[in-house]
């Protein structure tokens, strides 16, 4: 199988060895380039046109977080040097805000074409900035923020932390969040495309969800290890997750996942799925495994397309281009690839 698996990478992939832990990959909004944030403080940028990879020194220590900027091109990063940075398409870097000795743990952005917001978290504080780097909000949490996400309209931002999550209205003048309580340590967060479900990954190898419209709790358990990859399909019907030896998909239709078994894809060989990313348009999910295997699974038909074979060590990140034509991945050991999946 690995020969077949490697074929797509070899014929359609642009690959390189970056010699540093790949923390996160992300395409820009316009889909012109993919950035790989690295443990050595640099960002490797691969424009989709051409062969060159550019390396941009961005942080003093390790980069902890990367996201696409709110602008059509460029990215934002957070590092263990306490800096929240912006990287332009040309590789120019600007400091959005410094946070002293405190790490910048998470970053995210939102745009609807007019409003452009970027946000970062450092310790218990979540801060929202506009395109001119002016700080609009500082939102305080009971413990360190471990993940955050804007809703589809940029009206709300949700953050995960100890004992639950907080959902804030971005434009509200009175800063008190809607508190979603559930005991334990929550280490990552996603929101469904319709904005009605908030789901967190937990230290206790489980997911916890809240349906905002009727306060329904959703417990999703049974994972042998921690869920690091959590991604809603574009249709909102499926929540894909890593942390088991298969891609675990929870149904978010027909009343939700309560009391239903999840659908499992690409499993059975005992190798832990380390990361997942749903396709931006279709009900497809890219999944990566501890041994380096990367596959694309068609959720409807359960068909599996291997994209890269095993042997490169744990895959730490997967990213789709906004139009879904390209898939990027990176590994702990510093291997990075951008694969063109468009019809030729």
């Amino acid at each position: 199988m690995s020969e077949t698996a490697e074929k797509i990478l070899q014929t359609r992939g642009k690959t390189t060895e970056l010699d540093a832990y790949v923390v996160k990959a992300s395409f820009d909004r316009a889909g012109t380039a993919c950035a790989f944030a690295l443990g050595d403080g640099t960002v490797a940028i691969k424009p989709l046109a051409g062969e060159a990879w550019h390396r941009v020194p961005t942080h003093e220590g390790a980069i902890l977080a990367l996201a696409t900027d709110a602008a059509p091109q460029g990215w934002i990063t957070g590092g263990d040097d306490g800096h929240f940075m912006r990287i332009g398409p040309d590789g120019a870097i600007t400091l959005i805000a410094p946070f002293g000795m405190r790490w910048v743990d998470t970053v995210t952005s939102f745009t609807d074409g007019r409003t452009r917001l970027v946000a970062c978290s450092s310790g218990k504080k979540l801060m929202v900035f506009d395109a001119a780097n002016t700080k609009l909000k500082t939102l305080e949490h009971p413990s360190t923020v471990t993940g955050m996400v804007f809703d589809g309209k940029g009206k709300r931002i949700a953050a995960s932390h100890y004992d639950g999550a907080s959902v804030w209205l971005v434009a509200s003048r009175s800063d008190s969040p809607r508190k979603l309580d559930w005991k334990g340590s929550h280490i990552g967060i996603v929101m469904s495309p319709d904005g009605d479900s908030v789901v967190t990954a937990m230290q206790e190898n489980a997911l916890h969800g809240w349906r905002l419209s009727d306060n329904q709790h959703m417990r999703m358990t049974g994972y042998p290890s921690k869920t690091l990859g959590l991604s809603f399909s574009k249709s909102g019907k499926w929540l894909a997750s890593s942390g088991a030896d298969s891609v675990v998909l929870w149904p978010f239709f027909g009343g939700g996942p309560m009391g239903k078994p999840p659908t499992e894809l690409a499993g059975g060989d005992g190798i832990t799925c380390t990361y997942v990313a749903c396709h931006p348009k279709d009900d497809l999910v890219a999944a990566a495994f501890e041994d380096g295997l990367v596959v694309i699974a068609d959720i409807g038909s359960a068909r599996i397309l291997p994209v890269a074979g095993p042997g490169r060590g744990p895959v730490t990140t997967l990213a789709w281009s906004p139009d879904g034509s390209h898939l990027a991945f990176g590994t702990e050991g510093g291997f990075a690839a951008v694969i063109d999946l468009s019809k030729t």
Binding site: A20, Y21, V23, L38, G39, D40, G41, G61, A62, I63, L64, D80, M101, R102, W103, D105, G123, K124, S143, T144, T146, Y162, D163, W182, K183, G184, S185, M202, Q203, E204, A206, S225, K226
Partner: protein, 326 residues
């Protein structure tokens, strides 16, 4: 001194505890200023007494959370999981990570963190818990703070600081008080934290053979003791241990009495295996691994150490002995 990073690539982690004023930060700065050519990441807390002089210092809030498993003693430092995971992404490995806790910290959540998280377990190993106490103030601290007693109970290494400030008799009395709580820790006398770095870092503190040599059983007395006081005791077994029986016994024991059991450590000779098995637990969180072969000709004596409250010596002895193969 053992290799800093073992063949599995795990980075050793040293936890530094001690009540306020004992001399923790002085000791930390001394470790860091010694010209050892090693690279350490230092995790400090926001209430640090003094500045810490090191290339890589991470300032953190001690964020303890209770695991959502119904067990109130299963508390974990979530901030450490985040920081250790983050540090592992950096370019170039460290020779070690040193974690300084606040003076009021209970060491259990720090230690338990190394049992709970897969990444932390895979990438690091808890090398030793070092507790700094001072000869002058320890008697009073033991009276007014429960944490001081727990910090001693959890220690693999105790730095008894400021020995120049007390008489020989007072020093002996203080040492006896420490031994009453934890007779298996190595004690170093010091003034201003003057202990060689080789005695503090890379101790492989769970290699109990050496530790137990320093703590012969004749130190044990059967005087009347208040049950809620922390005590330590150890047992030996000459015959090989049946792994299944041991797991059943220790599992039930920790499940029932884990709240009282602060630390359990053991080196076991399993039947049919030439390797030494190291077992350790903090409250009811337990872990174990093979740590290399028994030396040729070395008696394969299994040893187990309990440090905690309400320890029932005859019951523990019978329990451990019954784990031997028939």
């Amino acid at each position: 001194m053992a290799e800093a990073v073992n063949p599995e690539g795990q980075v050793p982690v040293t936890v530094l505890t001690g009540y306020l004023g004992a001399g923790k930060t002085t000791l930390l700065n001394r470790i860091l200023s010694e010209n050892h050519g090693k690279k350490y990441a230092v995790v400090i807390n926001e209430f640090g007494e003094l500045g810490v002089d090191n290339d890589l210092v991470v300032d953190t809030d001690e964020e303890v959370f209770e695991m959502n498993n119904g067990c109130i003693c299963c508390t974990v430092r979530g901030d450490l999981i985040r920081i250790v995971t983050g540090l592992m992404k950096r370019r170039g490995k460290f020779d070690g990570i040193i974690i300084e806790t606040t003076g009021l910290a209970n060491p259990a959540p720090v230690a338990q963190t190394f049992f709970v998280d897969d990444t932390v377990k895979e990438k690091t190993r808890l090398d030793a818990i070092i507790t700094v106490v001072d000869a002058l103030n320890l008697p009073q601290r033991l009276i007014d703070s429960a944490e001081a007693e727990e910090q001693i109970a959890f220690a693999d290494v105790i730095v008894l600081n400021k020995v120049d400030l007390v008489t020989t008799e007072a020093l002996s009395a203080v040492e006896a008080q420490i031994r009453k709580i934890n007779k298996y820790a190595k004690i170093h006398h010091a003034t201003k934290g003057s202990v060689p770095i080789t005695e503090l870092l890379n101790q492989g503190a769970f290699d109990l053979n050496r530790v137990l040599v320093h703590a012969p059983e004749f130190l044990t007395s059967d005087e009347h003791e208040h049950n809620d006081e922390i005590r330590s005791m150890s047992f030996e077994a000459e015959k090989p241990i049946d792994a299944e029986r041991f797991n059943a016994w220790i599992g039930a024991l920790l499940a029932e009495k884990g709240g009282d059991m602060l630390r359990t450590k053991g080196i076991l000779s399993y039947e049919g295996d030439d390797r030494r098995f190291a077992f350790q637990a903090v409250h009811m969180m337990a872990d174990g691994d093979f740590i290399g072969a028994w030396k040729a000709g070395e008696p394969r004596t299994s040893r187990i150490v309990f440090i905690g409250r309400n320890l029932n010596r005859p019951q523990l002895r019978r329990g451990f002995e019954s784990c031997q193969v028939a």
